[in-house]
């Protein structure tokens, strides 16, 4: 009975994602091409940072997506633990490495920006440290979900970690307001509107939408694969 329930929802999900994936891939590629043109060629240099400002067009969206991705993991964890949603565990397995990837991109690009601008690749201020913690939470989630022979036990353990780690998200967001940090305060999501000139804000938001599409695309693809994998494992066990 549990098996039937498991197949019902993922099968519907799979049909939906198969229908979505081609147009989603197409849109992502087109938007990325135009986004890179906006970010690297069309947009002006910053009055202080010069061309180094262009790192932001990848760095900031990656940070948003890494945080949003972790929020997704937590929501999936809750729906697994509370409602036992069969698809949640599979999607969490699919999403965690993608989120970790965006988090790594955020940390690396930030480091490359920090060296010429601040004079240091890395400092242990509250924003950078909490973002590094987010990366480790992702790695913990990936490791924990694969740590048991029965995948269901790993799913549960990882779901608990995802929920516990969600405390870190407001800490990341407000670290720059609560404590003195070297990292600059928020420029876009702040009271009083963005403090970025439109000519730099537009490419930033464009890249944010583009990279979000890329995230969704990768998570959908990987969820499909996880569904296939779990089916195969179940079939092998029954054989």
């Amino acid at each position: 009975m549990a098996d039937l329930h498991f197949l019902a929802n993922p099968a519907r999900f799979r049909r939906l994602s198969q229908r979505l994936l081609p147009s989603l891939s197409f849109a992502t590629v087109l938007m990325l091409a135009f986004g890179l043109y906006l970010a690297l060629i069309q947009s002006p240099p910053d009055y202080q940072q010069g061309d180094t400002v262009r790192i932001m067009f990848v760095h900031v969206p990656s940070a948003w997506i890494a945080m949003g991705g972790y929020g997704l993991l937590a929501a999936l964890g809750a729906s697994l633990l509370i409602w036992r949603h069969p698809l949640a565990a599979l999607m969490a397995r699919a999403a965690a490495p993608v989120g970790a990837g965006f988090c790594a991109v955020c940390l690396l690009t930030g480091s490359l920006w920090g060296r010429p601008m601040w004079g240091a690749y890395w400092v242990w201020d509250a924003r950078l440290t909490s973002m590094l913690l987010l990366f480790f939470l992702y790695l913990g989630h990936i490791a924990l979900s694969r740590a048991y022979d029965e995948p269901e036990r790993g799913d549960r353990a990882a779901a608990i970690l995802a929920l516990v780690g969600v405390i870190n998200l407001p800490i990341i967001k407000f670290s720059v307001d609560w404590w003195n940090t070297l990292h600059q305060p928020a420029s876009v999501a702040r009271l009083g509107g963005p403090s970025i000139h439109t000519s730099i804000l537009v490419p930033l938001l464009w890249m944010a939408v583009t990279l979000l599409l890329l995230f969704v695309l990768l998570v959908l693809l990987r969820t499909d694969t996880e569904i296939d994998r779990r089916r195969l494992e179940n079939a092998e066990q029954q054989a």
Partner: protein, 146 residues
């Protein structure tokens, strides 16, 4: 209460407790989490000489002076309330300039001058093309609303 309800409240309750605990820990550790002290905080803390710490604020306009050999820089860091004199030997980051944010690591000398061993530039949250910055300065509206 259905099992689902029970699990929902268990999760919500655990998160609330966890959030409360995290708040307490972070509040208690506040002094260790701040990356630097402002000149006002430095005055409040009465930090003994030779203790290493970081201080930060704005480089006061007109305060930057280079030594004759060009290796030593003296400047004042201000938070508009209190001001601290800083001396530093070495290369400064590109963004270091008057009116800009800066974070220096070092210790207080006996004369109250902060001897910096490392100086980092702090960037603010404003991004704009050079022409816009120039226009704002010419219109006398520089940094008024930011």
């Amino acid at each position: 209460m259905t099992p689902k309800r029970k699990r929902l409240w268990l999760v919500v309750g655990s998160l609330a407790v966890l959030g409360f605990a995290a708040t307490l820990v972070l509040t208690a550790l506040n002094d260790n989490i701040v990356f630097f002290y402002s000149p006002t905080q430095m005055a409040e803390k009465k930090i003994p000489p030779d203790r290493r710490f970081r201080m930060g604020g704005l480089v006061e306009a007109g305060s930057v002076k280079k030594s004759a050999d060009g290796q030593e820089t003296r400047f004042r860091v201000t938070d508009t309330n209190k001001t601290v004199e800083v001396v530093y030997r070495g290369l400064l980051p590109d963004l270091f300039r008057e009116g800009q944010g800066v974070v220096a690591e070092g210790s207080l000398g006996a004369d109250g001058v902060f001897v910096a061993r490392e100086v980092l530039a702090k960037h603010d949250e404003n991004y704009m093309p050079p022409e816009v910055a120039k226009a704002l300065k010419e219109a006398g509206r520089w940094k008024e609303s930011k």
